[in-house]
Symmetry: C2
Subunit: 91 residues, 2 copies
C-alpha cells in the first residue's frame, strides 16, 4: 500500500447538538448542585475518542478521520464533532 511512515493521534470530541436535549448532562448538573457546586450554568455530556493511525501526512489523516466520524463514530443528525490531529509522540 505504498510507503506509510507517520503516526498521528486524532482527538475527537462528540457532543449532542445544542438544540438536542441532554438528559444525562442535566442529571449530572443536578448531582453536582446537590454536592454544593452551585455556580453551574450547564453540563453537556458526550464522547471522547482517541485514534492513533498511520498516514502519509496530517492532511490525509484528517480526511480519513473525518470519514470515520461521518461513517461510524458520529450520528450527524443529533451530534456534532470536532477533530484535532497531531503527530503521535511516544510517551
Amino acid at each position: 500500500m505504498g510507503t506509510i511512515t507517520n503516526i498521528f493521534i486524532a482527538k475527537i470530541k462528540i457532543l449532542k447538538r445544542s438544540s438536542i436535549n441532554d438528559p444525562e448532562g442535566n442529571t449530572i448538573a443536578e448531582a453536582l448542585n446537590n454536592l454544593g457546586f452551585n455556580d453551574i450554568d450547564s453540563v453537556r455530556i458526550g464522547k471522547y475518542i482517541e485514534i492513533t493511525l498511520e498516514s502519509k501526512d496530517k492532511r490525509t489523516a484528517e480526511k480519513i478521520v473525518n470519514r470515520m466520524c461521518e461513517t461510524l463514530l458520529v450520528n450527524l443528525v443529533i451530534e456534532s464533532y470536532q477533530v484535532e490531529i497531531n503527530p503521535y509522540i511516544v510517551k
Copy 2:
C-alpha cells in the same frame, strides 16, 4: 456569595488509564477495520464533558472543576482526565 461576574467553559476529556483494557475501543477499531479503515493502531473511547460555570477568575474555575472531577465525574482508579478552561463566548 460575593461578586461573581465571569463565565467560563470547562472542557473535560476522560479516558481509561492506558493500563486498563478498553473493550469498547477495541470493538470500534474492529468495526472501522471492517469498513476499510486499515491503518488504525488503536482506538480509545472515553467521555467528553462541557461545563459552563460562573467564577471570579480562571484559577478559581480550574480549582472548582478539578474538584468536580475528583468528587463525581472521574473514577480516578481507572480513569484519567484533562481539563481546559476558557472564558465563555456567546455564539
